[in-house]
C-alpha cells in the first residue's frame, strides 16, 4: 500500500501541496483530479522523491527508497523517449534499469506491441513512429516489468478512444495482479470508469477524497433523468426543481434543490401511468468537478 500522510510542498511563496493525505491500497486504483496547477504532478514528484517535501510517504510500510525502484512504473505527463533507439532497444534499456534481464524482456516485446496495436516492429526507430505510437511504446516501457506501484500522470492525454480502451484494459490487468495504481486525469469519464477512489486537489488542498460512489452520494441524488411529454416550463414549475436541462426528444435532466422531492415529482409525472424514463442519481463526477472548481470563484 502507498500511504501519503500530511505532505506539504512550497515553491517560493506558492503553496503547491498543503497537508495532503491519502492511501492507495494494493489492488486498487486511485484517481487524482484537479485543475492545472492543483498539485497533481507535484504529488507524483514527491512520491518519486524528485523533490523535497514535508510529511511522510510510505510504500509497503517503509519510506520509498532506491530499493523500491524496480517495483515502480512511472509515466510522466509529457512523453519522452530516446528517439535514436529502436523500439526493442528502448524497451530493453528501461526494463534493465528496472532490474529485468534482456533475455526475459525480449521475448515479450512482440506480444506487448500487439496488445497495444503499435504500428511498427521491434526494429523500428522511435523517431519514425507517430506521436500516438511513441506514447504506446512509452506505456509498454511503464508496464512491461509488471510494477507493483503504477504512477501514471495524464496517461490518456492524446490517446484516441480505441487506444484509451487498450490502456484501460492494461491498467485493469495491473489492478487484477494486485498493483496499487494512482493516476491523474482531466477526463472524468476515465476516472469514473477506472477508479475505486479519488482525490480532488484544488490549489494544493484536498477538497474531495473517498470512494467514488461515496463522493458522489455526498452531493445527494439531486439529478433526475426523465423522458416525458411535459414541457421544460412545466417541469421547472414542479416543487423542488432548481433548473432543467433539455436533452432533446422529450428527455430532460431536472436539477433538484432537495433530493427528497423525487417521490412527489414521480407521482406528478406518472399519475399512476407508465413512464419511459425516471432515474434519480447523484451528480456526475464532471458536474462535481465543475461545482468544486466553481466554489473557488464564489
Amino acid at each position: 500500500m502507498l500511504s501519503i500522510q500530511h505532505i506539504s510542498k512550497e515553491f517560493g511563496s506558492v503553496k503547491a501541496l498543503n497537508d495532503v493525505s491519502f492511501d492507495v491500497p494494493n489492488g486498487q486504483i486511485m484517481g487524482l483530479i484537479g485543475q492545472n496547477g492543483a498539485g497533481k504532478s507535484t504529488t507524483f514528484h514527491s512520491i518519486l522523491n524528485f523533490i523535497d517535501y514535508g510529511g511522510s510517504i510510505q510504500w509497503q510500510g517503509h519510506p520509498l527508497s532506491a530499493t523500491d525502484f524496480d517495483h515502480i512504473g512511472y509515466l510522466p505527463e509529457e512523453r519522452s523517449l530516446m528517439t535514436k533507439l529502436t523500439i526493442e532497444q528502448q524497451i530493453v534499456y528501461l526494463a534493465r534499469l528496472k532490474g529485468q534481464s534482456a533475455k526475459v524482456i525480449r521475448p515479450q516485446i512482440d506480444d506487448w506491441l500487439e496488445r497495444f496495436a503499435v504500428k511498427g516492429t521491434r526494429k523500428s526507430k522511435i523517431n519514425d513512429l507517430s506521436k500516438g505510437n511513441q506514447q504506446k511504446v512509452q506505456l509498454i516501457c511503464t508496464l512491461i516489468h509488471q510494477p507493483d506501484l503504477l504512477i501514471l500522470d495524464e496517461p490518456f492525454s492524446g490517446l484516441d478512444p480505441v487506444n484509451a480502451d487498450l490502456l484501460k484494459q492494461a491498467v485493469l490487468a495491473a489492478k487484477d495482479r494486485g498493483a496499487a495504481i494512482i493516476f491523474s486525469s482531466h477526463d472524468m469519464e476515465h476516472v469514473t470508469a477506472l477508479c475505486d477512489q479519488l482525490v480532488m486537489l484544488r490549489k494544493g488542498d484536498v477538497v474531495l477524497h473517498g470512494n467514488l460512489d461515496d463522493v458522489r452520494d455526498q452531493f445527494g441524488k439531486t439529478e433526475l433523468f426523465v423522458t416525458t411529454d411535459w414541457t421544460a416550463e412545466h417541469l421547472q414549475a414542479l416543487a423542488g426543481v432548481g433548473s432543467v436541462t433539455d436533452r432533446h426528444n422529450h428527455r430532460y435532466v431536472l436539477h433538484l434543490t432537495d433530493a427528497s422531492a423525487g417521490p412527489a415529482i414521480f407521482d406528478a409525472l406518472t399519475q399512476g401511468h407508465y413512464i419511459e424514463e425516471f432515474s434519480q442519481q447523484p451528480p456526475t463526477l464532471d458536474e462535481i468537478f465543475r461545482l468544486k472548481v466553481g466554489e473557488e470563484h464564489v
Binding site: F11, G12, H45, L48, F50, I51, D52, A66, F69, D70, I72, Y74, P76, E77, E78, R79, S80, L81, M82, L94, L97, K98, C141, I151
Partner: protein, 383 residues
C-alpha cells in the same frame, strides 16, 4: 571525429608524395664530361638527384630550358687542374655543392700525387689529417632532450584530450537537461549511479579513441619503418624514442587518465548546471579555462621544477595532472610524493563524484530552486 586525424595524415602524406614525384625530374642535375672515367667516377660516388640519361651539353641546355633539369655540371680534367662548372637557373644547393667540392678535391689530390710521382710512403705521410673529437658526459645530452620532448608530448596530450572531451562531456549531460526521460530514469535508478554510469560511458569513449590512436600510430610506425631512411633515423635515435616512451607509459599515463576523469566530472557538472539544453555549448567553458590555466602555468616552469609553486600544484587536483608528471619526468619527485599526490587526486575524484551525484537529480530535473552558490555552501540531501 575518430578518423579525423588519420584522414589529415593521409591527405598530408598523399599531397607530399604527389608533390615530390611531380617535381623530382626538375630537381635533378646532369653530369657531363669529356672524360668518361671522371664522369663514371662521380656517378659511382653520387647517384641520387642525377639524371644519367643526359650526356651532352646541348641536351642538358635544352632540358634546363624546358625546366626538366635544375642544371648541369661539366667536369674537365684536360689540364693539371680539375675544373667543374655548374650551369643552372638557380644556385647549387649546399648539399650538391659540398658533394661536388669533395669529389673534385679527392680527384685533384689523386692527380697531384700522380704528377708529383710520390712514393706510397710519401703519399701516406701527406694523407695525415688532424683529429678533433668531442668528449660529452655519457647520456646527458640525450637525457635532457628526452625530458624536454616527454614534457611537451605529455602536457600537449593532456591539454588536447581535456579540451576535446570536456566539451563532449558537458554537451552530453546538458542535452539531457529537463527532458522527461530523466524522470523515468530517476524513477528507476539513483542519480549517483546514473551519473557515475554516464561518466564511465564517456570515459570509455575516450579510452576507445585513445586506443584507436595508439593502434593507428603503431600501424603508421610499422609502415614508416619499411622506409630505409626513416628506419635509419629511428635506429640512430633509439635511446631517445625509448626514453620518451618510458616517460609516457608509466605512472604518468595514470595521471593523464585520472586528469581526464576529474575534468570530465567537472565538465559533466557544468553541463548539469546550465539553465537549458540549448546552452550546452557554453557549459564546457569553465572547464576549458581551468585546463588552459593548468597548461599555461606549466609551460614557464619546465626548467624550474624546484619552484615552490610547482611543488604545491603537483598536489592540487586539476593541476596535479600537469605538474606531477613534469616532476616525475625530471626525477624531482620521490615515490612517496608521487603516491601522496595520486592518493589526493583519487580521494578528490571520489568526493567530487559523490557530491555531484547527490545534486544531480535535482539539477537535471530542474526541481531545485537553489543557485550554484547555495549548492556549494549548503549541500545537503533529505535522507
Amino acid at each position: 571525429m575518430v578518423l579525423g586525424p588519420f584522414l589529415m595524415i593521409a591527405v598530408t602524406v598523399g599531397i607530399s608524395y604527389v608533390s615530390a614525384n611531380s617535381s623530382s625530374s626538375s630537381h635533378q642535375v646532369a653530369v657531363i664530361s669529356d672524360s668518361a672515367v671522371l664522369r663514371k667516377s662521380y656517378l659511382q660516388q653520387h647517384q641520387s638527384g642525377i639524371n644519367t640519361k643526359i650526356t651532352t651539353t646541348a641536351k642538358a641546355k635544352k632540358a634546363v630550358k624546358a625546366n626538366h633539369l635544375a642544371g648541369y655540371l661539366t667536369l674537365d680534367a684536360s689540364g693539371t687542374q680539375l675544373r667543374g662548372d655548374y650551369h643552372g637557373s638557380t644556385a647549387m644547393d649546399s648539399g650538391l655543392k659540398a658533394k661536388v667540392q669533395n669529389f673534385l678535391l679527392q680527384y685533384q689530390q689523386l692527380k697531384n700525387y700522380q704528377t708529383a710521382k710520390l712514393t706510397p710512403k710519401q703519399q701516406q705521410a701527406l694523407a695525415q689529417t688532424p683529429v678533433l673529437k668531442q668528449h660529452i658526459a655519457a647520456k646527458t645530452g640525450t637525457s635532457n632532450l628526452v625530458k624536454t620532448l616527454s614534457f611537451w608530448v605529455l602536457i600537449t596530450m593532456i591539454y588536447i584530450i581535456l579540451i576535446t572531451y570536456s566539451t563532449i562531456a558537458a554537451q552530453e549531460i546538458a542535452s539531457d537537461k529537463g527532458t522527461k526521460i530523466m524522470e523515468i530514469i530517476f524513477s528507476s535508478t539513483t542519480a549517483t549511479s546514473y551519473f557515475i554510469g554516464k561518466i564511465t560511458g564517456i570515459l570509455l569513449v575516450i579510452v576507445t579513441q585513445i586506443v584507436i590512436y595508439i593502434c593507428g600510430g603503431w600501424l603508421g610506425y610499422t609502415i614508416a619503418m619499411q622506409n630505409a631512411g626513416i628506419k635509419k633515423l629511428v635506429l640512430a635515435n633509439q635511446s631517445l624514442v625509448k626514453g620518451i616512451f618510458h616517460n609516457l607509459f608509466n605512472l604518468n599515463l595514470l595521471y593523464v587518465l585520472l586528469g581526464v576523469v576529474i575534468y570530465t566530472i567537472l565538465a559533466a557538472y557544468s553541463g548539469a548546471l546550465v539553465a537549458k539544453a540549448e546552452d550546452a555549448s557554453k557549459a564546457a567553458q569553465p572547464v576549458i579555462m581551468l585546463s588552459m590555466a593548468g597548461f599555461f602555468i606549466a609551460l614557464p616552469f619546465q626548467n624550474n621544477l624546484d619552484a615552490v609553486l610547482v611543488k604545491i600544484l603537483s598536489y592540487v587536483p586539476f593541476f596535479s595532472s600537469y605538474f606531477m608528471p613534469m616532476r616525475i619526468i625530471n626525477g624531482t619527485a620521490g615515490l612517496g610524493e608521487q603516491i601522496g599526490s595520486l592518493a589526493i587526486l583519487l580521494v578528490a575524484i571520489g568526493l567530487f563524484a559523490l557530491y555531484i551525484g547527490r545534486q544531480y537529480q535535482r539539477l537535471m530535473l530542474q526541481t531545485d530552486s537553489k543557485n550554484i552558490w547555495q549548492h556549494l555552501f549548503h549541500s545537503r540531501r533529505r535522507s
